[in-house]
Structures are given as structure tokens and as C-alpha cells.
């Protein structure tokens, strides 16, 4: 399977804390993307980082990419209860997106 692995599988934190999720993938990529899914609904695109980029910021999100290790991390700073969701990384492979296994984040008030 080309599916990426994410860890942790589940993460439980308090509001205001930072949340870090990691993604490892297997093939060469053009870009890596992170998506969010609330309660088994449709996924929402969060951020894209290209293979020639090492770090990218968007609001409270920070993404890093290490192509030598085939890994990426997503950091959510100052988390809120509304950040509770599942987070998936996705890599493009032959014009198809391959999604990671996902991290379920629970942010408690």
C-alpha cells in the first residue's frame, strides 16, 4: 500500500495547548497537503507544502516537510475546542491523492 502513516493515531489536549501530528510517506512527491474532517463529513483543505519548501505557515498552522526522511508535521498552536477533528495528510501520486491514516484530535475546554 502507498498509504502514508500518521502518528499519533489519537491526541487529546487542553485548550490553549499546541498539537503536533506527524505524517510519513513512501514515494517521491510534488507536494504534501493536510486536510481536516469533522465528524465523518467531507474533508476541508488546510494547507499545501511543495516538495521544494521546508516550512509553511497559515494562521495557527505550521507545516514542515523533510523530503529526505519522507515526513511532514502539522503543528496547531493555541488549540481551541473547535479544532477537534480528524486530520489527514495526503500526497499526490500519479494524479491521485493518497491519504494517510489520520490523527484524531480532541481538544477539551
Amino acid at each position: 500500500s502507498q498509504q502514508g502513516e500518521e502518528d499519533p493515531q489519537a491526541l487529546s489536549i487542553q485548550e490553549g495547548e499546541n498539537a503536533t501530528m506527524n505524517c510519513s510517506y513512501k514515494t517521491s512527491i510534488n507536494n504534501l497537503q493536510w486536510y481536516r474532517q469533522n465528524s465523518g463529513r467531507g474533508l476541508v483543505h488546510l494547507i499545501l507544502i511543495r516538495s521544494n519548501e521546508r516550512e509553511k505557515h497559515s494562521g495557527r498552522l505550521r507545516v514542515t516537510l523533510d523530503t529526505s526522511k519522507k515526513s511532514s508535521s502539522l503543528l496547531i498552536t493555541a488549540s481551541r475546542a473547535a479544532d477537534t477533528a480528524s486530520y489527514f495528510c495526503a500526497t499526490d501520486s500519479f494524479q491521485k491523492l493518497v491519504f494517510g491514516t489520520g490523527t484524531r484530535l480532541l481538544v477539551s475546554p
Binding site: N31, Q33, G40, R41, G42, L43, F88, Q95
Partner: protein, 112 residues
């Protein structure tokens, strides 16, 4: 961006029956993608639907079980045929625009 309307949002079906899921996009797109998400799992691509040609199925998925229609550049359907409880999943359609993927809200299917 792209706005996708997917229906039904959920259904409970008897085993042996079929369900057709519809996906409408607010703009013309070349490819539409259908995914399955089994309970607690990640998304698995079922097939890619191109207008004017047969859908391209991924390993483990066959046309007889998951027939797909793509009559025009804004619409597609996925049918889950001869359903069994193992087909209970969320089914999602998706399109890509400027590398970013946009998703419908999903169809939560329960087969009893």
C-alpha cells in the same frame, strides 16, 4: 474553489439492494473522484470518473460492484450494488482545482 453537492447524506439499506449516490459540482471539471471511508479508517480511492469514457477503478474495486456514470462535466453518480454489511461506510466524491481537493459532505451508508 469548487462547491460540491452530494446526496443522499445518509441512508440505511437492506442487504442485497443497491444505492445510487449523486454528486453535483458548481463548475466543469475533467475528473471526479469517488472515495470510500470505512469506519475509523482513512480514505481509499474507488475510481476516477472521466466524462465521455469509462471510469478507472483502483485495485480491489470493480465496475459490477461500483458502477459509475459521468454524463457531463458537472455531475457523476456512484452506485453501490448488491450491498452487504461490509459496504457500510462513508462514500465521498471529490474534485481537484489548482492542486487542492474539494469534497462533498459524504454519504453515510449503513447496510442492515
Amino acid at each position: 474553489s469548487a462547491v460540491i453537492s452530494q446526496k443522499p447524506s445518509r441512508d440505511i439499506c437492506q442487504r442485497g439492494t443497491s444505492l445510487t449516490i449523486q454528486c453535483q459540482v458548481d463548475s466543469q471539471v475533467t475528473m471526479m473522484f469517488w472515495y470510500r471511508q470505512q469506519p475509523g479508517q482513512s480514505l481509499t480511492l474507488i475510481a476516477t470518473a472521466n466524462q465521455g469514457s469509462e471510469a478507472t477503478y483502483e485495485s480491489g474495486f470493480v465496475i459490477d460492484k461500483f458502477p459509475i456514470s459521468r454524463p457531463n462535466l458537472t455531475f457523476s453518480t456512484l452506485t453501490v450494488s448488491n450491498m452487504s454489511p461490509e459496504d457500510s461506510s462513508i462514500y465521498l466524491c471529490s474534485v481537484e482545482h489548482n492542486t487542492e481537493a474539494f469534497f462533498g459532505q459524504g454519504t453515510r451508508l449503513t447496510v442492515v
